[in-house]
Amino acid sequence: MDMNQTNHLKAYGITFNALNKGIKADWLLNYRGGSFLLDYNDRIAAGCRLEGVTFNQVSFAEATDIYSFVQSDDNNMDVIRLEKAPKIAVYVPPGFQPWDDAVTLVLEYANVPYDKIWNDEILKGDLEKYDWLHLHHEDFTGQYGKFYASFSNAQWYIDQQIQYEQNAKKNGFKKVADMMKTVSVIIKNFVGQGGFLFAMCSATDSYDISLSAQDVDIAAQMYDGDAADPGAQSKLDFDNTFAFTEFNLEMNPYIYEYSDIDIQPIEVGNFDNDYFTLFEFSAKYDPVPTMLTQDHVSVVRGFMGQTTMFRRSRIKKSVIILAEREGTDQVKYIHGNYGRGTFTFYGGHDPEDYQHAVGDPPTDLALYKNSPGYRLILNNILFPAATKKKQKT
């Protein structure tokens, strides 16, 4: 799927839905920007036309040539067999959201089926029904996104706080922060048992902070009723986290930031220079990071979020960096393993809305059919479908 593809995003939906119907697909890593090869049938062809997805019909001989070319040692390419589409859950609170979620948007746009789940479902063990879980802008620290200074009088903020408090009460927790900590641990266990976690924006750092602060109160009075532990910083347990370590909490409840993991807007600098570069991995030796970085461009326009990018010095050594701003310590996209599962964190809120603010209208993806930033999200829903190959290293 190189620049000739008319709708990259819907191509993922076509492939995902074909897998759901029991049709096998091959992901030709790095071949023409990372392409999918499926057995021809009229329904798939009609589906591609209906969705505006460009496809080429190839003969058996041509397909053989392609396989041979892709698998040749001379090319940094490989074939990955996709067998079973993962069952997807997206973690979102019920009811209206004052802003939108890039993953939900792109899943809807690409016609990829998913379920919405929230704390009730997670706490009663429903995660075991799913293979893939997405977290977006939720705050796992129980500080309601740290929007207090700007939005404490806004109706949506007041409603949100009540909603969380009632939810915590219903589930037997005195504090929202305590419920979120429990939810974080359950999600961690889900990954440990083989689940795939994909988090964006503030769900990335707030999730890891929550894991590190299991035994300490980091939420100020306006968030959970009592004061934060003044010695909270020294009580964080970084062994519990997935991706981040040695970070410093932002304990001031009036500052819209959780910690020093996130890169500040001033550090990002000029809007015009905000691009991040995808690393090129060896397709044959590192198929997972290669799948996660399949794109038709290698330099992608940056985008902000409550958590925009991650500070390199706060990322654990065991974590693979998938994309960064070259020449800086700003990392956009990371991946790692935990137990039998994996996690992938992607900074920023909406790949096609540079500075998405509360109350902004959602992005119309029909205008961004070839979005490389959104494509990275969709790589994440297909890579769990890959058949595990014996690693060459």
Binding site: A45, L50, G52, I158, D159, G225, D226, A227, P230
Partner: protein, 613 residues
Amino acid sequence: MILRIFITIVFSTAFLFAQNNGLLNKYALAQSYEHSGDLEKASKIYEELYQREPQNNLYFESLNRTYVHLKNYAASVNLIEQEITRKAKDINLFGLLGSTYYLMGNEEKAYQVWDEPFSFLEPNPVFYRVIAAYAVERRAFDKAIDLFRRGKEISPDKIVFSYDLARLYSLTMQYENAAEEYCVILSNDPLQLQNVQTKILANANKPGALKVTIPVVEQYIDGDNLSFSFLLARLYIENKDFDKAFEMYVNIDEKQSQKGVELYRYADFLFREGEYEISKNVYQSIIKLYPGSPLIPSAKLGYAKSLEAILMEDYSNQIPLWKPYFAFEHYESDQVTEVIDAFNEVAGLYKNSEASYEALLRIGMIKFYLQNKRDEAKQYFNKIINKAVMSESTADAYSELGEIALFNGNLAEAEKNYSRITVSAKINQHKINDAKYKLARVKFYNGDVQTAQKLLAEILKNLKDDSANDALSLSLLLNTSKNDSANIMLFAEGEFLADQKKFSKAANKYELIAENPQAFILHSIASIRLAEMELALNNYPRSIGLFERVVEEGEKNIYADKALYLLAQIFQYGIGDNAKAIEMYEMLLAKFPASIYIDRARNEIIKLREKIS
């Protein structure tokens, strides 16, 4: 002796000053520690200060605050209890003590402490508000509601408590109870309507809120207190229950003797919302109920416009808008007469006003497009032109006269009318460009290609104008065919006939060009026009054959994708074979992936598939 006393006083004062200064410095130091987060050190200094001056409230509050921040709740409890022994009637101390117990997680004890002062203090509604504030701060909303309720019972000012209660009920999604409190407020003070309405509507979109709020307000309807009627009417509108809202406004107008003011506002609102059937009824009611009202002329205009909007919705459903060309259908119904009568009445009432000219224009258009009574239509348009040179409706009247002239085959008359628009300084640029485009076509039909191209070039100076696309298409056609004067003139004749809706004759002209493969681009456009003429004549089999021929030409004919799209439309709307229509649309997607009809085809496929399933 005097000197000794003086010295003693001076020294004592200096000692006290130094002592106070020292305490203040210590207090400042403790605050610094507290702000820097070193609560342990701050607490130690506050303890020392409190021991030195236990009567100093500032030291007490600071010490308690640090205890709470350090989660040293036992110390906080001891401190406050100690303070209570000295100030047993200080209601705030009970509020603080209850808060500490609540933070400890001991809700039961917290509630008990918060209730305690009411057993021995004189009944005072303010005390309930004070303790409720502590409960709200701890987000113990149920307890706060209980306290506000009890305070309200003994308070002579119910309104202030009702506001507090309503706020907490809304916050905890008890909308029915909130509605009760808001109604209590309105019962006591109808002037609070705006305030109450704003607060209730803020929750109207919450799940289930409106459903439980309306029955509560209905119970409070009171002939003497119209604030409930206003509120209920607004809630009915929010709930899309327009008939009930109508009844409410009728009632309000009757009670207020306002001669339909509220009804008129309501009708206008409905018209803006596109609820024409109801707005028509409401305007009609004003006319019937208040014949002497000064609002009658406005109500009659609103009534006529509502009627017209309903008529146009019906008319649009009956004409084949999917066809590029179709014959004028004579559309006659009681509705048409009703609309014309209504506009005639407005024109009579509003003589020499914009409303009157607008009414004449609408009548003229109905006569022309719906009834095909061109001479009568001309009379209405001429009335506007003769009476109101400066009216906003004048340009439209000229344009319609131009259309009639074109339809009648009178190019000179059409040119004259369109030209009048292009030279007027009062008319907006969009209307001028529209007239220029029509004028360019007239020039083209007259064989004056050069002037036509000049006019089109003027339009194309602003590519954002609505007429720019049409101008571009015609300009391209004229440019590419300028060396083929015989065929271009033949094509102009065809176009002119098509404008006159003489489809059969137009088809003959187009056919001559379509049969000539040397005519290049004119061959392409004439081929599709020929098929479109047959389609206009409802000759589906022949039009299908002709469109298929264009499709077969593939890339040689730039209109092949359009032909395939129209084929699909014939099967969908003309023949009613949805499966075949889907097949055609899918073929369009397969053969012409870059066509401008792709998105429309996709939408139609999705729509048809849903219909079939």
